[in-house]
């Protein structure tokens, strides 16, 4: 294909991407941009040129070894719902803008740790970006028919211009906002679009190769299975290969969380947590589809070209070989899409880290403090723009110097191993609050150096010295230090080997230093916030034990420099309202410090925000001794304020007394209302009965059967009695309760009164065949109102009869002398009173849930009146607890 045509296609394609990004930015709120499918597709930025071309190469050379790189993410996906959701939540709460920010904040906003993570990410990502450029350059070469095309200088090299175009795109849509925690909808939309393209084109070439060039999968299999080294390609060779697989799966498991571009799309660009629910199955499905035809394209390429061509580009070479340049162009564009997505998202993520965690905190802060707000946000944007350009150009030169020697696959794995060094401090720190800043720093450093020693050093030395002495004999000729076989472990592939050793030392350092060293209060506070992220608000509010002094005006000045006057004032206003502080508060507290740091974090990263705020705050480190001292001081204050306290206690006691009195009045009113309500209800019931029966009798004298007529008449009589009894009782009760009743106290024999009560009720008892036994016949004389005590006894006896079973019922009346009082009890063998009712049965109109008596007989006031009478005699009445059968009522009358 003509070079110029190819360039025109590339430029047109980029124009389309620009347009999509532009549309998405314009319609930021649209459903087309904010849905779980776009989110899932943006995650597919994982599938870069490495996947697109590299997998086929691996499949051709070492069989199914391309798979573990996808198995890791597939295993990780179900865990997202727990782990990733937590990460997303924390990131949103703290306005985190990159993985460097995330880790440095977890370990107490450590500036050094943030910078270290950034450097690790740079080391991990630069080769990876250069890999993408290599793929573009090489596929361009394959596509162009200009065979003499060999780049000699940078100016001639088309890859250089592609890199520049990508840098412009990333700059334009990646730095629209100074606050890096804002979403980049335009970029995400193009990434999603490209994820569709690369998948569709890859499937297209798969189908073309498998079913058009060959006669289906079986055909390819039959042909390839007769070649000599076929068996080696399709099986794992022994336990060593098993270990390789295991470590590679672990490696890619970490990469899906930690790669800066994955953190960018999965955490920072996440709109809604619920999008995760779709992503956890859709993303593995995407990976599955992508890998469907890899093996067949690889075999088909092997069958067609033998060993003559670079197996990584079979998907491009096969259609070209068959003169299908249209399909080849599509495949080229698919690969190009994969490259663009990866490069743009990665540089976006890296540039944020470089500016927020490296450049601003280590040099530009001073400048910012003096500047005007508009100029500050311009500065920040410019730093990011320059970072993007620098990163891409550096990656280009990395490609020119190193990558030409290496395969796509090996560069990709180097990146993974380096990035995975963040794993221990990231994952363990998320769930273990002991993990300390020192431990994280040492762990990452140790792991990073081991990774460099075992993976990067060997090939760089080889490129420079031209010999492989280092790999062969180890450092200083010590065989235990052979970079590919450290301490004699020689059966792992270099990446798996590097991963194993770096991770082992990284984790061990992390654990050991976490357990032996404790971080400062600030660090522990953040650890708590991350580990217990659900409890965030309470932890945030109680903040830290913070000692220092800051004026709101100073903090406001800092905020204005980055947010502008309007936003800063509004933010402070919201803060004061939320915490119910006066708007003209002068001195800042720990909460305001936290709040301001968070506000700035989005723009300049957490470490810088901390430093900035600290510059206007006279913060003092707090030691345990000081904490104790503070507590001691407040104790002294308490003593000196004791007098004041007593006075105020008196006052509050007085006011609470007033309040109680008022409440009592209110309850009394309410009780009176309730009482009247119930009385009205109780009165209405018999009247309703009487009214209805009378009406019926009046209207229907002729047709009504005689017995029914008689029954109605009987009902009327019964209801009238009930009415009369009720009125009598109500009046009685009212008199007792208001204390207007005067007892007619006489010195007389209780035994006689008991006999009277029994005889007055004996008729009803014998009707039901219930026996009444008087246990104690000794006479006992004291002072009491006989009529009233008679009323008490009759009431208790008739209640007992009511609850006794006919024929077998038995009631025992007993009289005992106690210390200055006489105790009279009435026990029956009826069904008893449920325990839950025992405290309430003396309340007026209390209706037991378990009561099942015939309605018209009670007035609901009997026991209430009884209680009043007994109490009027200075006695007590209660139901005896723990009685085996029946109910026992006991009342006492004191005597002198």
């Amino acid at each position: 294909m003509n070079n110029y045509l190819l360039v025109i296609i590339i430029v047109m394609y980029l124009a389309v991407l620009f347009y999509i990004a532009f549309l998405a930015e314009k319609k930021r709120q649209s459903k087309w941009v904010n849905n779980p499918y776009v989110y899932t597709l943006s995650l597919a930025v994982y599938c870069s040129a490495w996947t697109y071309y590299g997998s086929v190469g691996i499949a051709a050379n070492s069989g199914i070894n391309f798979l573990p790189i996808y198995l890791g993410p597939v295993i990780a996906a179900p865990l997202w719902i727990v782990v990733l959701r937590k990460i997303i939540r924390i990131s949103k709460q703290h306005k985190i803008s990159s993985i460097a920010d995330f880790i440095s904040l977890r370990y107490g906003n450590s500036r050094f740790l943030g910078a270290l993570v950034t450097i690790v990410c740079l080391f991990g990502t630069l080769p990876y970006i250069s890999l993408q450029l290599k793929a573009v350059s090489e596929t361009f070469e394959i596509m162009s028919d200009d065979t003499s095309y060999v780049s000699t200088t940078v100016i001639d090299d088309s890859t250089f211009y592609v890199a520049l175009l990508l840098a412009i795109f990333a700059t334009f849509f990646g730095t629209q906002n100074a606050d890096a925690s804002e979403k980049h909808k335009g970029i995400i939309a193009t990434v999603a679009f490209e994820s569709v393209l690369k998948l569709v084109f890859f499937l297209a070439i798969g189908i073309y190769v498998t079913f058009y060039l060959f006669d289906g999968t079986t055909d390819i299999y039959n042909q390839i299975s007769v070649t000599e080294n076929f068996k080696q390609l399709t099986t794992l060779s022994g336990i060593e290969d098993g270990f390789n697989w295991f470590f590679l799966i672990g490696l890619s498991f970490m990469a899906i969380f930690l790669l800066p571009r994955q953190f960018q799309v999965s955490v920072l660009e996440n709109n809604r947590e619920k999008h995760l629910k779709k992503a956890i199955w859709l993303f593995p499905l995407y990976l599955l589809l992508f890998n469907l035809f890899v093996i067949f394209i690889a075999w088909a390429g092997k069958l067609t070209f033998g060993e003559t061509q670079n197996s990584e580009y079979y998907s491009l070479l096969l259609p070209l070989e068959n003169r299908n340049s249209f399909l080849a162009t599509l495949v080229f564009l698919g690969g190009f899409s994969a490259v663009i997505s990866m490069v743009i998202v990665s540089t976006l993520a890296l540039s944020t880290m470089v500016s927020n965690n490296l450049i601003i905190p280590y040099g530009f802060l001073e400048k910012f403090i003096k500047n005007q707000p508009e100029r500050n946000s311009k500065y920040i944007k410019n730093i990011r723009r320059i970072s993007i350009f620098t990163i891409i150009i550096t990656a280009y030169f990395f490609y020119v110097i190193f990558s030409k020697e290496l395969s796509l696959y090996s560069i990709g794995l180097i990146s993974f191993v380096i990035i995975s060094q963040l794993g221990p401090s990231f994952f363990i720190g998320l769930y273990w609050n002991r993990g300390s800043s020192k431990a994280a720093t040492i762990g990452i450093l140790v792991g990073f150096f081991i990774a460099i020693y075992t993976l990067i050093l060997p090939f760089t030395l080889q490129v420079y010295t031209g010999t492989d002495n280092f790999t062969q004999f180890g450092l200083f000729g010590i065989s235990a230090l052979k970079p590919y076989a450290l301490f004699g472990i020689d059966f792992l592939s270099p990446p798996a080997h590097a991963f194993f050793w770096s991770m082992t030392f990284n984790i061990m350092s992390y654990l050991v230093f976490s357990l032996t060293s404790k971080g400062n209060y600030r660090e522990r506070n953040y650890a708590e916030m991350f580990v217990d992220s659900n409890n965030f608000t309470t932890l945030q509010d109680s903040a830290l034990v913070w000692k220092g002094e800051a004026h709101v005006a100073d903090i406001k000045n800092v905020l204005i420099r980055f947010l502008g006057e309007k936003r800063a004032t509004r933010a402070l206003k919201i803060f004061f309202t939320k915490y119910k502080l006066p708007q003209d508060t002068q001195l800042a507290d720990a909460r305001l410090i936290n709040f301001s740091e968070k506000l700035l974090t989005g723009s300049i990263g957490s470490a810088s925000a901390k430093i900035l705020i600290a510059s206007v705050v006279k913060e003092e480190q707090i030691s345990l001794v000081e904490v104790l001292k503070i507590l001691e001081e407040s104790k002294e204050n308490i003593v000196s304020n004791k007098v004041l306290l007593e006075k105020s206690n008196e006052l509050s006691k007085l006011s609470s007394k007033l309040k109680d009195a008022n409440e009592e009045l209110l309850t009394k009113d309410k009780q009176k209302d309730e009482f009247l309500d119930t009385v009205a209800h109780e009165l209405k019931t018999p009247i309703t009965g009487i009214r209805a029966a009378t009406e019926l009798l009046m209207d229907e004298d002729d047709e009504m059967p005689k017995d029914i007529k008689a029954q109605f008449l009987k009902n009327i009589l019964q209801d009238s009695d009930r009415l009369g009894r009720l009125i009598h009782n109500i009046l009685d009760f009212e008199k007792l309760e208001t204390g207007r009743l005067h007892l007619d106290m006489q010195y007389q024999d209780l035994q006689k009164t008991i006999a009277k009560a029994i005889s007055s009720i004996s008729q009803i008892a014998s009707k039901k065949e219930v026996k009444i036994i008087n246990n104690n016949r000794h006479s006992f004389k004291t002072n009491y109102d006989e009529d009233r005590i008679l009323q008490v006894l009759t009431n208790l006896l008739s209640n007992a009869i009511k609850f006794c079973n006919p024929k077998i019922g038995q009631i025992i009346v007993d009289l005992k002398l106690g210390n200055a009082l006489v105790e009279i009890s009435v026990s029956d063998n009826g069904k008893g009173i449920p325990e839950e009712d025992q405290d309430y049965i003396f309340d007026k109109f209390y209706q037991s849930k378990h009561q099942n008596t015939i309605k018209p007989e009670g007035s609901g006031l009997g026991l209430a009146i009884t209680k009043q009478i007994v109490e009027k005699h200075n006695g007590k009445i209660w139901v005896k607890k723990d009685v085996k059968k029946g109910a026992t009522f006991v009342f006492t009358i004191p005597f002198k």
Partner: protein, 121 residues
Amino acid sequence: MKKKILIVDDEPNIVMSLEYTFKKQGFEVFIARDGSEALEILKHHIPNVILLDVMMPNVDGYQTLTHIKNMDSLKATKVVFLTAKNKASDIEKGLKLGADKYLTKPFSVKKIVSEILELVT
């Protein structure tokens, strides 16, 4: 077909008058002494109308109505409160819970009959 009525009240004398009246009007009459008995009956019978007292032991009238409203089989059944509670707030509560009518005690038998007939025909 005979119309069916369920009378829920714990006052036997009142129930007797109502039972007599509605039998005479050609209703098939069911009687329950409280909410739980009523709900038991409603498991097996679908009356055209339910006459419901409020103050009853165990399950009271309001609770009973809430249960009734949750039963799919009783979508067409009319529910009428017949109670001595006649405060405006009580009436509002009853109607809000979904009762079709709210009648108060003491009542005129003729009035009750005409109100019920109006509902079921």
